[in-house]
Subunit: 207 residues, 2 copies
C-alpha cells in the first residue's frame, strides 16, 4: 500500500476507535511509525485527511443509496438493504459521532454530507411511495414525509445513541441489527398482518 493510502486507512481506524477530536496528526504519524514531515508531505493538515476519507465514504454509501427501490421487495429485502446502509455508516462511524463539529470546520463537506442525508431521505420516501403504489400500505404525502424524516433521524443517530449509552466501550457491530429494527419499526403499524409477521421473523433471526 502507498504511504498516502496507509495514512487514510490508519486515520480512519484511529478516528473510529478514539473519536476524531481525540486524534492529532502526530498521533497518526506515531501510529504509522513515520515522521510528521512525511505525513505533511501528503496532507497539509487533519482536515485534508478528513475530506479524503469523506470522499471514500460518499462513494461507498452512494453505491447503496443510488440503487433504485422500485420493484416489489419483501421484508427480508428491506431488512438487508437498510442493514447495508448501516454497514457503510459503521465503517465511517466517526463522522456520526461528532457530526456538527466536523461539518462546521469544512464548508465543502457540509454540503456534500447533507447531500447524503438528502439521499437517505429520498430513498426512505421512495420506499414508502413504492409500498403505497403496490398497495402494501396506504400512506398519504404528509405521512410519507413524516415517517421518512423519522427514518432518517433514527438511521443517522442510532450509533451516536448507542455510543452515548456505552461511553468508553467499543460498540459491537452486531448492534447494527437493532438499529435496522428501530428503523423498520417505524413502518410496522402501517403494514398488513402478514408483513408484520414476516418482519418479526426476519428480526428474530438477526437479533
Amino acid at each position: 500500500m502507498k504511504t498516502r493510502d496507509r495514512i487514510l486507512h490508519t486515520t480512519l481506524e484511529l478516528f473510529n476507535l478514539c473519536g476524531e477530536p481525540n486524534v492529532t496528526t502526530i498521533d497518526i504519524a506515531n501510529e504509522m511509525d513515520i515522521s510528521p514531515g512525511n505525513l505533511y508531505y501528503h496532507f497539509r493538515n487533519k482536515d485534508e485527511i478528513i475530506f479524503e476519507i469523506f470522499v471514500m465514504f460518499e462513494s461507498s454509501i452512494s453505491d447503496v443509496l443510488d440503487t433504485p427501490q422500485t420493484i416489489d421487495l419483501d421484508m427480508v429485502d428491506y431488512w438487508m438493504y437498510i442493514h447495508m446502509i448501516f454497514e457503510k455508516i459503521w465503517e465511517y462511524r466517526f463522522f456520526y459521532r461528532d457530526i456538527v463539529s466536523i461539518l462546521e470546520r469544512n464548508e465543502k463537506l457540509q454540503k456534500r454530507f447533507n447531500r447524503i442525508i438528502d439521499k437517505k431521505n429520498l430513498v426512505s420516501k421512495s420506499i414508502l411511495t413504492n409500498m403505497t403504489e403496490l398497495g402494501s400500505v396506504s400512506l398519504n404525502t404528509q405521512q410519507i414525509e413524516s415517517i421518512a424524516t423519522n427514518m432518517v433521524i433514527t438511521g443517522t443517530y442510532w450509533l451516536n445513541f448507542l455510543q452515548m449509552r456505552n461511553i468508553g466501550k467499543t460498540l459491537p457491530e452486531e448492534d447494527l441489527g437493532k438499529g435496522v429494527y428501530q428503523v423498520m419499526s417505524l413502518i410496522v403499524p402501517y403494514l398488513p398482518d402478514e408483513s408484520k409477521d414476516a418482519l418479526e421473523e426476519v428480526a428474530a433471526s438477526y437479533l
Copy 2:
C-alpha cells in the same frame, strides 16, 4: 449576580452559540471582562464549569420528567408536555450537539446524563402504557419498548439533526414544534381517528 453565577450563565450562552469545543476558559473570561485568574479562582477548569451547568440542566429537566403521566390527557396536553421537555433541552442544547465527546471526558456526567435518558425512556413508556390502559390505543410490551426507543432517539437528536442541516446558522426556537410533531407522529398510527384529527389540529396551530 455573583461572579460564580455570572460565569455559569455566560458560559452557557457561549456554549449554546458557538458549541462547547469552540469555547475556551480564556474566551469566557474575555467575554465577561474578568481576568483568567479570577475565573480559575471559581472553577479550576472548563470541565468543572460544564459539570455545574449540567447540574442546573438536570434539576430543570427533572422537574418536567418527574411529573407523573397517569391521568387521561388529551392531544393538547401531550403536545404541551413534550414541548416543555424540548424547551429544557433547547436551554442547554450544547450538551446535545457534542454529547459523546462531552460525556467521555467526565465519568460523573456520563452516569447522570444517561439517567436523564433513562427517565425520558421511562416517561415515554409510561405515556404509552397509560394510553393502552385507558383504551386509547392497544399496544403490547414489545411495541411500547420499540416506540419508546424511537421517541427517545428523535427527542434526543432533533436539535442535532436541525443543526447538521443548517451548519453555521442560528436555529430558531420555533423549530422545536416540528420536533414535537416528529415525536408525536410515532404514536399517530396507533391512535383512533378522532385523536389523529385532534393532533393535526394542535399541530396546525403550533407549526
